[in-house]
């Protein structure tokens, strides 16, 4: 059965040029980037070349880019570093952040740090007035994602930056879901810290970056090496960085085209999905990533739908899996004010520029059939 992969917000198929770059580095670059010899020098060259490509892709100076083991690590690094270096830290994050922000903030609160969680409305939008009020109470760092992984809702980073800076606080933006799906520029946006990963659009997993505004610092959260100018210990993952280089170059070369391709795909997909009775689209339709659709089908449990779709060859996602692998309702949808049962109905479909547009339309028809079957069996059985 030909499968239709609609879970790009979890991770994406690796781009061919990324795969080639990783393979080439595995074969041809044996050295440790910290070594003096020629092998070390060529490894170092890969690391620094990648730094320049990533910087260019997101509009940052090369020296602002610190490589890490992924977005989760970068988020931890920024928040932990801030608290460690601030005399009276007060950290705010939005209620719909990724767990790698939200749970760090929860941990900080347990450790006695002043924190607050910025609520969202039914469409997942932020209330600026809430923030203004908190900023007056001495907030020192705000962490807000550029685009939400589950609903695709895009936050107005420009307005947030203005408010945060006016109050003398710092802004951290997690741009993981934005890469390759919307245009953005680190320096132009004015954020102080940014988290990056490229694996949602075809880059390698297990490598990411923290971007730091000029004049600010970010320190290591682990000990044991002076790599990345003492900001991230551990031998550089040269093959993954070579892949990241290729991914960053692809964003520069094809980014605009990708965004147009995604818009066409989303329109085609939505056109079919809209026909399904009792469908509700969640998130802010006016400000949403062009690759993400969060839909709920009245009376159909998301877990049931995911399993049934998987068996029909369509991969989607819903909520987050626990250790055992069963699904919890999405904290994002819950934060938007849906009660648990309704939150469990949410299913996320996310695609990429290489997802065939006609497959998307066919996938939507399959979704319609499965939804119909689930509703019928439910009615028969009760």
């Amino acid at each position: 059965m030909k499968r239709l992969y609609l879970d790009w917000n979890a991770t994406a198929p690796v781009l061919p040029q990324v795969r080639d770059a990783v393979m080439k580095a595995l074969e041809a670059v044996p050295g440790n980037a910290s070594s003096v010899h020629r092998e070390g020098q060529s490894a170092r060259a890969v690391v620094e070349r990648t730094r320049r490509s990533v910087a260019k892709a997101v509009g940052a100076p090369a020296q602002a880019v610190v490589f890490t083991g992924g977005a989760t690590e970068s988020n931890n690094q920024v928040l932990r570093h801030h608290v460690r270096t601030n005399a009276k830290p007060f950290v705010v994050c939005t209620a719909v952040e990724h767990p790698s922000v939200l749970e760090v903030v929860e941990d900080l609160a347990k450790e006695g740090v002043k924190t607050a969680v910025w609520p969202v409305d039914r469409k997942g939008r932020l209330d600026m007035e809430w923030l203004e009020k908190r900023l007056d109470e001495g907030v020192t760092l705000v962490s807000a994602m550029w685009a939400n992984n589950e609903t695709g809702t895009i936050f107005d980073v420009a307005s947030i930056v203005d408010a945060v800076h006016e109050a003398g606080a710092l802004l951290h933006v997690d741009a993981t879901q934005a890469v390759g799906r919307m245009e953005f520029d680190f320096q132009a946006c004015g954020a102080d810290y940014m988290t990056l990963s490229f694996h949602k659009m075809g880059g390698p997993k297990g490598v990411g970056a923290t971007v730091v505004r000029e004049g600010l610092k970010v320190g290591a959260i682990m000990s044991g090496g002076h790599q990345e100018r003492g900001r991230r210990p551990g031998t550089e993952n040269v093959p993954a960085l070579a892949g990241l280089d290729a991914a960053a170059k692809a964003v520069v070369d094809h980014g605009e085209m990708w965004i147009e391709a995604l818009k066409r795909r989303k329109a085609a997909f939505l056109e079919e999905l809209t026909r399904i009775e009792g469908v509700e689209f969640r998130g802010d339709q006016a400000q949403q990533l062009p690759n993400t659709v969060n839909a709920a089908f009245d009376g159909v449990d998301g877990e049931d739908l995911l399993m049934a779709l998987d068996l029909e060859g369509v991969s989607a996602s819903s909520g987050s899996a626990c250790t055992a692998g069963s699904l919890e309702p999405s904290h994002v949808i819950l934060a938007m004010g849906y009660e648990e049962k309704r939150a469990r109905e949410s299913v996320r479909f996310s695609f990429g520029p290489s997802t065939p547009v006609e497959e998307l339309a066919r996938g939507a028809q399959k979704i319609a059939q499965v939804v119909k079957r689930l509703r019928r069996i439910d009615a028969d059985w009760r």
Partner: protein, 393 residues
Amino acid sequence: MKGQNTRTDSGAQGACAVAGPVTTLEDDDAIAGAVKDRVVVAMSGGVDSSVTAAILARQGYDAVGISMRLYSTPQESYSKSCCSPDDLFDARAVADTLEIPFYVANYEEEFQKRVISYFVEEYRRGRTPNPCVACNDHLKFDILLERSLALGAKFLATGHFARIDRSGEEPKLLRGVDENKDQSYFLFGLPREALSRIMFPLGAMEKEEVREVARSLDLETAEKPESQEICFVGGGDYKEFVAELLSERETTPGQIVTTEGEVLGEHDGIHQFTIGQRRGLGISYHQALYVKAIRPEDGTVVVGSRDDLLSRGLVAERCNWLSFDRPAGPLECEVKIRYGSHAVPALVTVGDDAHTAFVEFEEPQRAVTPGQAAVFYRGDEVLGGGWIEEPRK
């Protein structure tokens, strides 16, 4: 339903033989119709359900494994009870070896409501619950079966040692071939219409054969020990488990008295007692004492000699009949009053609505226990069963 199903799970096929053509059930669904004989296998991470999945996959069914997550165990704790994350990992590993899809379904809420709450409530009332039957009735063969059908499956398969005979007009539930492992007792409460949607591939096998199949296929669970305890209680004491969930005002303390009315002592809650219990009464007496009756009204626990435990019959409520809508008249059959004892000859008559059964044993039986199941057999066939309400003198 269209078509007579001619296949019998109890057929003489070897464990891994390829099945003959299976008559499929009517299905008007375009998607499900395109997939031949999908079977959902309830996989617990134990050897029985692992082999169930293996057999069906080998027979060419489109097997899909599902583990039910029934309760949370703290992530850090390392436990060997059923449904722990470790068991789910084992189930996943087996599904991976068999190259079948595998999912975890979250039924915590239902399990809490239908099994754990019931379990605690029965003890609180001085009765002895049977959570495995409740789990089969309300979880496996209700919501999991429904979900299986929703996934386009024709059948739900489990690793129970029981058989379904499909040779007649209506499917019949039979005992498993392995006398020591037969689990048909736990299945008396299945909705009758569910029988046509269920498979028990292990029913024709001996336990040792099951392990051999697991070893021959190199399944991760081949040498896994049997689970003996009530899964959600873990290795601990069920009395402690119940006591923890009962608030003080929910417990019923009272006196321990002999059948003659002699007060021997006091206890702090009837939930700690089971009919027939001898150990842990906290009383020294010149002869062995057994719990004969528990009176929830005033908390009295009546103790007596072993022979005081004998009853001539019992009353069962909430009966479920699998072989017919209701018995046509007085029913001569065998009745099994607990999992661990043999079925004994009895005469069963039913009340007007067939929900109540009056059972008269041919020979008096010991320790008829309210809350346990009374299951009616004729030979290997499970006719039906009910929940023991009280013994009859």
